[in-house]
């Protein structure tokens, strides 16, 4: 097609609003496509991957003793200054933390504490639902940290869940395969 014809075609298209009609057809098509919304926490919940940096947890060794040697390296490297460690020495002469507090209200979940720890005692786990009405509740002590869930084994799944306004998001079914975020994105 020659250039002049091409231009005439464009003009004819404009006169009959071909471009506007195209746009309308596109949005109309989208209106009947499936939404990509993940309805958290009403219906679904996302399971974090193993690499996810959620709430910290402290590890125990094989004897059930706390791994942390209270070297305070994590407290040193923390850019937010939110870890406070007070050491003590037990009967066998090993150093352990008497007090180990993380102020998660200040934490930026950089994971530097996990990298710095020489005893592989602290890590960032899979929990991400710990919002609170009071910032005082966000200062987590040693025993609570020991009880926190660890790294996720699998991840990326979306499980059926519903919100229990008193407590938490209740998981209803388990489903571990990965979630294809693009599953409902329409491509034209």
């Amino acid at each position: 097609m020659s250039r002049a014809q091409d231009r005439a075609g464009t003009w004819i298209g404009w006169v009959f609003f071909a471009d506007l009609a195209n746009g309308l057809a596109l949005t109309f098509g989208y209106m009947f496509s499936k939404p990509v919304t993940m309805q958290y926490p009403d219906k679904e919940k996302w399971l974090p991957y193993a690499r996810y940096r959620g709430h910290h947890f402290l590890k125990r060794d094989d004897e059930g003793e706390i791994k942390c040697v209270a070297c305070e390296l994590c407290a040193r490297i923390c850019p937010c200054d939110c870890i406070e460690v007070v050491p003590y020495e037990d009967e066998k002469g090993n150093r352990h933390p008497a007090k180990f507090e993380i102020d998660t209200a200040r934490c930026l979940f950089c994971g530097l504490c996990e990298d710095a720890c020489p005893a592989d005692a602290i890590a960032l786990g899979q929990q991400y639902e710990f919002s609170s009405f009071s910032s005082a509740d966000l200062v987590i002590g040693r025993d609570d940290l020991l009880a926190k869930p660890g790294k996720a084994a699998t991840g990326g799944g979306v499980v059926a869940a519903r919100l229990n306004t008193k407590k938490d998001v209740l998981v209803e079914t388990e489903e571990t395969q990965g979630y294809n975020w693009w599953r409902n994105i329409r491509r034209t």
């Binding site: 746009g23 309308l24 989208y30 209106m31 496509s33 939404p35 990509v36 994105i185 329409r186």
Partner: protein, 329 residues
């Protein structure tokens, strides 16, 4: 006795109309948000009631209980007057709008209009023109730059679009030989005006979009550049007045399009009750309004003016001339 019955009927009809117009924004806002959501692959409101059906109620309660704030530097009288000025005309206009011929209830014939004026069309345009004062006063009285800019734009926009809108319906009036909306619909019993007046419809619809200040012509409340335009400073119930007014005008323009160009309550193909046909057609045009809103970007101000004066006005004038020539021939 008959007079009392007639008066009572009119009062009842008016009350019914007002109730409908006041309540209609509730389902319309829900629909608008749902359609917006699905066009953008979201779900829209989901949490209040089944699929968010009660969301407009929640919004309404919120608006009613919010602080009704008047800026310190505002012109208090005009500030309070503006929402009422914006709200009243769209309501008044519906007095002249017929929704059908008549229905029989308990053996008595009840007409589906409050009054059958023989200059209904003129009345509609005259009254709806007053609405713009609400917008202009609102922006002026707020004493805020955004609001004034929004008002200025509205001023210019309304003037430029009221003219082609008025011209566009002249073709329809010529065909029906009457300005009564009832007669105009009756004249379309066989063939709808859209067949004879496609250009008139186009001009009227585009001007109607501008009149209702909806995207792509919502320059007076362009969120992107003006905050919220003329109602930036309004809150609570006064803001709700502007909102209701906007939806009433959307309804009005849809109703006018149906009456003037799409045969009013005349049925096509399937013989449904006339009133149902009417409602279906109007619903379709309301949907088109919402659909447009989430498809097109906003026009620039100079483009808006150019469309109004350089495209719509000549088109509508040519339409009148051609209609006249064809009718005379």
């Amino acid at each position: 006795m008959e007079l009392i019955v007639a008066l009572g009927l009119i009062v009842f009809k008016v009350a019914f109309l007002i109730a409908i117009l006041l309540l209609l924004p509730l389902p319309l806002t829900w629909l608008e948000r749902k359609i917006a959501g699905h066009i953008q692959q979201r779900m829209g409101p989901m949490r209040v009631g089944w699929h968010g059906l009660l969301q407009p109620m929640a919004d309404g309660i919120k608006l009613l209980t919010k602080e009704d704030h008047i800026p310190a530097e505002a012109d208090r009288f005009l500030f309070k007057l503006a929402p009422i000025l914006a709200l009243a005309p769209p309501f008044v206009v519906f007095v002249a709008i017929p929704f059908g011929e008549s229905i029989s209830v308990l053996g008595a014939e009840i007409t589906l209009y409050v009054s059958n004026m023989n200059v209904a069309l003129l009345f509609v345009f005259a009254v709806i023109g007053i609405e713009v004062y609400g917008v202009i006063f609102g922006g002026w009285a707020s004493n805020s730059k955004y609001a004034v800019l929004g008002s200025l734009r509205t001023c210019a926009q309304m003037i430029s679009y009221e003219i082609p809108m008025g011209f566009a319906v002249i073709g329809v009036v010529m065909l029906a030989q009457s300005m009564s909306l009832l007669d105009i619909v009756r004249a379309q019993a066989d063939v709808w005006n859209i067949v004879y007046q496609p250009v008139g419809f186009f001009v009227f619809f585009v001007a109607g979009l501008a009149e209702a200040q909806r995207i792509p012509f919502d320059l007076s409340e362009a969120e992107g550049d003006l905050g919220a335009g003329f109602h930036t400073e309004y809150s609570g119930i006064r803001f709700a007045f502007f909102m209701v007014s906007e939806y009433a005008i959307v309804l009005l323009v849809s109703v006018l399009v149906v009456i003037l160009f799409f045969g009013g309550w005349n049925s096509v193909l399937v013989p449904l009750p006339p009133l149902l046909w009417f409602v279906l057609k109007v619903a379709f045009f309301i949907y088109v309004f919402i659909w447009f809103r989430f498809t097109f970007p906003r026009y620039r101000y100079d483009q808006l003016m150019a469309i109004g004066w350089k495209v719509l006005l000549p088109l509508s004038m040519a339409n009148i001339i051609i209609t006249g020539v064809l009718l005379g021939a």
